[in-house]
């Protein structure tokens, strides 16, 4: 599974398909502290792009800049063809976001959450109707549609949150540590959902701490102390550092980190 996926990825993306994220020396400073230091990279359409780094490496800051939640201190970035400084409103329509805090309303039902998020993205009633049915069916939530979200198990909530984040069919969806705190089986199911979404041409930009998940990505970047230390397919990275797993690749790069890891 992993091998074929990576192989496909290399053929699919390295042959220069459309670029959906392009950053050029993107930097964020908080006073003297440079959280993200001149990062430059590209992400291609339909790709699953893993954005790794130890805690404090600057990946959340970078992601927040790309989502328009935080204004860069310097550098350039183009998201889905729009400039990150000038076209933030247009970008917002083209991206989805799932934060690491679990992000649905617990006191609303599954259906109400779907309606609400569809509503704020401006989906028409008819479209929303169709989408919500599809979504409920895909996630097998027919019996839970009218239950409060708070009563669902965490894994279901995360799948629901992800599906809601891509309901408006964005070009790119940003996932900030989406699978924290769930068991490996649920994580695996979550990744199936990610694959099927990527197959529809939606680009996945995902941060994670789980190195097995890094193996699932088409390409990964590894941030250390605010800079991108490595960016390639998992297979190439393993070859470069002559190791057997992404875990070892990560350890090899991240152990040199100066910033404290909490």
């Amino acid at each position: 599974m992993e091998g074929t996926k990576t192989g496909v990825a290399e053929n699919k993306f390295l042959s220069a398909s459309e670029v959906v994220i392009r950053t050029d020396k993107l930097t964020k400073r908080f006073g003297d502290f440079v959280a993200t230091n001149e990062i430059t990279f590209e992400v291609y359409a339909g790709e699953i792009f893993g954005f790794l780094g130890a805690n404090g490496a600057g990946k959340t800051t970078a992601m927040k800049m790309l989502c328009g939640l935080s204004r860069p201190s310097s550098g350039k970035a183009v998201i889905a063809g729009y400039d990150i400084y000038k076209d933030t409103e247009r970008i917002k329509k083209k991206i989805g976001y799932m934060s690491q805090k679990f992000s649905l309303y617990e006191d609303l039902t599954v259906m109400e959450n779907i309606r609400f998020f569809g509503g704020i993205y401006g989906l028409s009633n008819k479209h929303l109707q169709k989408k919500s049915h599809e979504l409920i069916e895909t996630l097998n939530l027919q019996n839970e549609a009218n239950l409060m979200v708070t009563s669902l198990p965490l894994g279901w909530k995360q799948k629901l949150a992800f599906s809601v984040a891509v309901m408006h069919e964005p070009r790119i969806v940003f996932l900030d540590e989406p699978t924290g705190g769930v068991d490996p089986i649920t994580r695996r199911q979550f990744w199936d959902l990610i694959y099927s979404t990527a197959d529809k041409g939606i680009t996945i930009f995902v941060t994670t701490h789980y190195m097995d998940e890094a193996e699932y990505c088409d390409r990964v970047s590894i941030m250390v102390d605010g800079v991108i230390e490595a960016l390639d397919t998992p297979a190439n990275l393993k070859r470069r550092y002559s190791v057997a797993s992404m875990d070892e690749v990560f350890y090899h790069l991240a152990r040199g980190a100066k910033r404290s890891v909490d």
Binding site: C67, G68, L69, S70, R71, E89, K92, K93, I95, G96, Y97, M98, S99, Q100, K101, F102, S103, L104, Y105, E106, D107, L108, E112, R115, F116, F117, G118, G119, I120, Y121, G122, A165, F174
Partner: protein, 368 residues
Amino acid sequence: MKRFFSFVRKEFYHVFRDGKTMLMLFGMPVMQILLFGFALTNEIKNSQIVICDYSRDDATRKIISKLEASNIFHIRESLLSHMQIEESFKSSNVKLVVIFPNNFNHDLLHSNKAQVQIIADASDPNTATTLTNYVTSIIMTYQQQLMAINAFPMSITPEIRMYYNPELKGATNFVPGVIALVLMLICVMMTSVSIVREKENGTMEILLVSPFNPMLVVISKAIPYLFLSIVNLLIILILSVSLLDMPINGSIFLLIAESILFIITGLSLGLLISNLVESQQAAMLISMMGMMVPTILFTGFMFPIENMPIPLQIISYFIPSKWFYTIVKAIMIKGLGFYDVWKETLVLAGMVVVLLTISFKKFKTRLA
């Protein structure tokens, strides 16, 4: 517009599904009004009073026995001199002193006129007024009985003095204060808590990433609370009128319009607080303590602002409820119209503009 409605609907779900919020929203005002109402009607029985009788004659004895028989008063002691009055107010819970001058009966019989002095401890103005009224009416009953017997006019003139609070801020002054307090607390707390909750739960980020305008996030949050506060206001008004016999002498529409302005002031303040804090507890604490204390101190319904030192008076100018209190009193009690409260209205409107400007600015830059 449709997006906006989705949002407002969601906010209503939040409110109606949260039992604690509902309890606070409707329980608190009803409780406050009932408590104050209860306190107002209950405190009167068996009040301690003191008689200072210089005359000691037939008429004074009759009046005293009537006072005693009334159930309202408990006559504690008889003073011998004027000088002891102040002392007895201070040293015990004496509420009122009745003073009969020398030759009371003599004056009454010979010049058909007599005076009686009633001195009340008006630091508790409600009780003071009510007690004074009772004493006066008992004396008037006695006067009428005399007239029936003697068939020529006799008059006893009560001379009333209010100690400690000559302006007599009373029951009617209290209710507008409670209205201001309740609306302020509810509005500030509810908005700040509901916005901070989104921050805490991480849903705020999702909203900010969405194409939904951040300004609209805030406005649509305020709408359910605006609506509920108006319902609240109506409940408070109905209770005040039916239970506490508050008059509404002026235009009720003007009163409601001014109240809505005040509610919006509270909502804006809540918005500002939500920008400054990160947790629901902090929001709750700041709204409760930060609003309750200044509102009680500086609105004027508990402590007369005119008697405060100048620096405190200046602080009171920044308390929205002070202005609203003046407006409500003017409309409900004095029956005045918009011409008489436009200055206060302008101050409140100004506060809304300033608060909203600051919080919208903060709300935007927080992202940077």
